[in-house]
Symmetry: C2
Subunit: 228 residues, 2 copies
């Protein structure tokens, strides 16, 4: 039986762009687990009531419900040990750092570059909620948050230096083979890649080269994703 | 026979403050390996000629010479597998990210807060070299680089958010036990802790709490270190 993944979708139900859901899409593919995704919009709180909270990703795996991308990755690793996502206890502990770095530095940095673009791709019924909740968070209009991104994107690219330095040393963040660390960072990059046309990375950036290799993995899962 | 570590020292030969040498001090202690440290100053290039390069840390382990902190950690893990520093191949690959993050974000951030203080603790014979090489690197005088640090330190503390988030989840960066990830970050924090009196962290910061636990490890190695 397939694992069910409740997955953020846009007005176009085939447009999937949540950085946290993409981490899980990659992790499921890594383990070769079949998945059935159910499109979900921000305002469909009732559809997730069974999980006891209101955000995706949520998976239903047999009788078990798990939410929060990190917790889902932990569940998958425990329930389906091979191929491994973490490579053991220290690998998992160290991946938690990369997860925290992506959540704080990457997600925050990308949001400030594309948050207004998101308004154009999300479901119309989500737009009032999205604008008001995000404008409250930033203390600015979405247009103000995104303004000047052509000048600010250089600083974002610079913030990816740790990824760039690691890729000088090894082919994947996981070393000789991809690991959940690769899923975290590539999943986060799928967000702007699918929901915006803004060029986040320069083509000659080693991070872009690695991301291209990630798009090709798992039968081209990321490459085949619908884009805005 | 003890491993020999060539270790950056100040005017006071007991003052040791290199962030890279401290990573190795912690790693050696973690493995229970006896070490003999040899104080080294920036301008003593001849003293490292045997290693084929001009920077510390350098270790001599039996007949083998290894330089660069990451390469030394790799050597120690291969030559003395237990207790482990990395916890396997993925643990090491993921630790490489933490190393790259510390080298780019932490070292750069700390340098901008304490680089002028360093001039007061290094050996007098190193001062001209240190000032001219660092001022060329920053394109400013050391005094200009360090100016306004009371206002800028908040942004540095914010940059440690990934560490703070991980410590909500686990006691050490290595998980249930310290790993080389802990040595990387704590070793980097030993630099300002030993060479400057500037308060880098607030006392109520969970990062400070974890650093205090790191100072107590290995018989209080970090706690006992000489400070400026």
């Amino acid at each position: 039986m397939s694992i069910i993944l409740h997955d953020l979708a846009g007005a176009d139900p085939d447009l999937r762009f949540s950085p946290y859901c993409w981490r899980i899409r990659f992790a499921l593919a890594h383990k070769g687990l079949p998945v059935e995704t159910i499109p979900w919009r921000f305002t469909e709180r009732d559809a997730l009531a069974f999980s006891g909270q209101g955000k995706v990703p949520v998976i239903q795996d047999g009788g078990k419900t798990v939410f929060d991308s990190w917790s889902i990755a932990e569940h998958l690793e425990a329930a389906y040990p091979t191929p491994t996502l973490f490579g053991g206890a220290a690998g998992k502990a160290h991946a938690a750092f990369i997860n925290a770095w992506a959540d704080s530095i990457m997600v925050g940095g990308i949001a400030r570059l594309i948050v207004r673009d998101l308004l154009d791709v999300i479901d119309p019924k989500d737009r009032d909620y999205f604008r008001s909740s995000r404008e409250a968070r930033f203390g600015q209009t979405l247009e103000e948050v995104q303004a000047g991104r052509e000048d600010r994107v250089a600083a974002f690219r610079e913030s990816l230096m740790p990824v760039r330095l690691v890729l000088r040393r090894q082919e994947w963040l996981g070393g000789a083979a991809p690991s959940y660390a690769d899923h975290i960072v590539a999943g986060t990059l799928m967000w702007p890649s699918c929901a915006s046309r803004f060029a986040l990375l320069t083509e000659d950036d080693p991070v872009a080269g690695w991301f291209g290799r990630m798009l090709d993995l798992y039968g081209g899962l990321g490459r085949a994703a619908k884009r805005a």
